[in-house]
Amino acid sequence: MNTPLLKSIVINFNYFIIYYVLVINFIYFIQLILAAFNLSDYIRKIRYSDYKKYMISDNMIPISILVPAYNEEETIVENIKSLISLNYPKFEVIVINDGSKDNTLNKVIQEFDLKEVNQPVRYRLKTNKIKGIYKNIDIPNLILVDKENGGKADALNAGINVSNYPIITSIDADSILESDSLVRVVMPFIENKKTVAVGGIVRIANGSIITRGRVVDIGLPKSSVAMFQIVEYLRAFLTGRVGWDALNSLLIVSGAFGAFKKEAAIEVGGYAKNTIGEDMELIVKMHEYFLRNKIPYRIKFVPDPVCWTQAPETLKDLRSQRRRWQIGLMDSLFKHKKMFLNPRYKQIGLIAVPYFWLFEMIGPIIEIVGYVMIPLAYIFGLLNLKYFLLFFAASILYGILLSLGAILLEEYTFNKYPTLKQLIKLSLYGILENFGYRQLTTLYRIEGIIKFRKMKHSWGKIKRTSFQNQR
């Protein structure tokens, strides 16, 4: 290949990268603006919401809380205690032990004095064998299901089969709900009968004080890895999810905290077992099913029912988590590739799915190639210094501005970190994350792309510590 041609390819490719960076950041800014309006709407709506009335009403929809557990002996007992003391008129907690190899099952049985019962199960969704169901008549709203290992989705489907109530919510065994979170997440089902799924916000508990399964003092963690994730979560939820919600195009309801109409979940076949991104997959399946059959439906994100979760504090766990997220995303997008730019699926097919394909799935590859190609092109004299600096400054500055925007939205709306010191620390990490952390997570996502075929069916665990040991 002759040199001018090579030079032309490299230069054009670099221009493509610059345009790509511009477009993606433009989309993020649109999301930020939409999110600001949507949040402002929500805050105003709270002023006349009747949710407090429903907290004690017999007309509140009963709910089944599904807690899939696989090797969760560190946190499961606290988590259950926190869940069964939630403020909600009528609910049940169904813990599904998915063949844990540690002491999860015995710990729960002993702590809550459970006895095995002969409860027949309606297998409306096909799952691996349920080995036993345990109950304590004095804690009637707690059910423990012991089943053969089949993955998180299989565990959730088993929970749906055992559940008694019309709304199900899935909560990770390492997460804690705020006391009125359930009421708030169920309100959209009360307000609009077309609602089939609702997602709540997931916040990072690292650094907060937790006593008896309750977050009593919200704080920021000392660990830098966790701090970066706090900024990242604010951006993902308060900008990303709220922004997509404004366009009625939400593709993800976090597995850590989401509520679903049971019949709708069963209608689409429940959680998909052959994926590790079962949360996204369920939502995409719902969109696909309801739009294909022209059934009116609504999927909502509500930004204040809070679920607190533990973020990984080591790079090893973070790597595993991000790899898993990327694999889940890709798997779901491949499964529903027919939705891509398909007008039959309205804004989901024309906006949301193409966005996830072009920017969330392919994005890491283009970003990393850009990081390698542009300096190389500069070193080999194919690019001038101005161009090189421009690309570098643009990608860093956009990132900083978006993070600061998300922090602003947080301060403006829910203000969970009210002190000036916290605002400064958050803003500082919003800047710092662009110098290394963001690039590192992009690499982890690339690893997810590479290992996609090999790992798309695994559970993917990270090491949890007891909430009681934290500050």
Partner: protein, 381 residues
């Protein structure tokens, strides 16, 4: 190219700076208002509290009215007056509540809220509807009814809830007659609204239970059941024979809630209904009615082809006095599904401790616990 990038960075930065500036300005303004509010809060709320606490004994004087009207003209003072009124209505009922409504009308608070109903901002309208409902002023009825056709769920909900709280029968009936089943509100929220009606409920139920629209009709049948007034039982029971499944289920639930067992025979007949949902609810309601005439039919229902019917029948069976005796017959029978469900319910709902307690006082052999264990062992084999 470079220019595009530079401009985009510049624009994005400006947006963020503006957002920061907006946030800071708003926080400062909020702080200023709060400080101002704190300065006058004691005087305004003290003045109003004093009048409100004597409403039962004294008429409000013209001077007091004039002062309160003056408060309403000032934004901050009006906010305090509004807050206090909403607090009173949340905590006070009876004749004092009517006097407070009159006072809110006289000082212009109701007119102020009515004015907000004309806003194009739907959040403002919904909030005004909520406030008018809390104040319970009949003066708002016409304006609220005018809003019933607005296709904004939040406004619709708050209009209906306000009408429920104001308690005017005719206005409430008219509002529901104008709704259709395409209303996006969930059934439970509509039942909550019906349950919250503060006027003559019986009159409202008698008018709305018979609507042709089965969705609205079912809501009022269910709400009538929640009201638990036996005067309505005969009328509700008529719907047990209705062709519409929803109305039948609503009537079953209502009679179950009322605990009125005069219609137990009709309910038992519904254990053979062609709809499994009706059979399941009938089985459940028979447990609520605690009538031993239902025992044998419930044993038969344990063999229903639908799991929910069997499950509800088993729960009801063991909850009715004498039902547990019949568990022996079920265990001796041939139907494995019936045995499974009854054993499951004994363990999960009734409790093994109670089975053992029953055995202690029963002279029957073998003991029930032994019969159950034997069945489980055979099954496991």
């Amino acid at each position: 190219m470079e220019l595009i990038v530079l401009y985009s960075i510049l624009i994005f930065s400006v947006i963020i700076i503006l957002l920061y500036a907006y946030l800071i300005t708003e926080k400062l303004y909020e702080d200023y208002i709060n400080r101002k509010k704190r300065r006058v809060y004691k005087d305004v709320s003290g003045y109003l509290d004093d009048i409100a606490s004597r409403l039962d004994e004294y008429e409000v004087t013209n001077v007091q009215l004039k002062v309160l009207k003056g408060f309403i003209k000032d934004r901050i003072k009006r906010e305090i007056i509004e807050e206090r009124f909403l607090l009173y209505f949340e905590n006070l009922r009876g004749s004092i509540s009517n006097k407070l409504t009159k006072l809110a009308e006289d000082i212009g608070l109701v007119d102020y809220e009515l004015e907000k109903l004309k806003s194009k901002d739907m959040h403002k309208v919904a909030l005004a509807c909520k406030n008018l409902g809390e104040i319970r002023s009949k003066k708002a009825l016409g304006s609220l009814l005018d809003l019933i056709d607005i296709e904004v769920v939040e406004v619709k909900y708050n209009v209906l809830m306000a009408l429920a709280k104001i308690g005017d029968e005719e206005a409430f009936i008219e509002a529901f007659k104008r709704l259709s089943k395409t209303i996006p509100l969930s059934e439970r929220s509509l039942v909550e609204i019906a349950d919250s009606f503060e006027g003559d409920k019986i009159y409202v139920y008698r008018n709305l239970m018979y609507l042709e629209d089965e969705f609205i009709s079912s809501i009022f049948i269910k709400s009538a059941g929640n009201y638990k007034n036996t005067l309505l039982a005969d009328e509700i029971a008529i719907f047990l024979a209705d062709e519409n499944k929803e109305k039948k289920i609503a009537a079953l639930k209502a009679l179950g809630n009322m605990g009125d067992n005069r219609y137990v025979i009709q309910i038992i007949e519904l254990l053979n209904d062609k709809s499994w949902e009706v059979r399941a609810i009938a089985a459940k309601v028979l447990g609520q009615l605690q009538d031993n005439r239902a025992l044998i039919p419930l044993v038969k229902a344990l063999s229903d082809k639908e799991w929910y019917v069997r499950y509800n029948a088993a729960n009801s069976l063991i909850s009715i006095e004498g039902g547990i005796e019949l568990v022996y017959d079920v265990l001796e029978g041939e139907d494995r599904f019936a045995k499974d469900i009854v054993v499951s319910v004994l363990e999960t709902s009734y409790g093994w401790d109670k089975v053992l307690e029953y055995d202690m006082y029963s002279s029957r052999t073998p003991k029930l616990s032994e019969a159950i264990k034997k069945y489980i062992e055979e099954k496991d084999r």
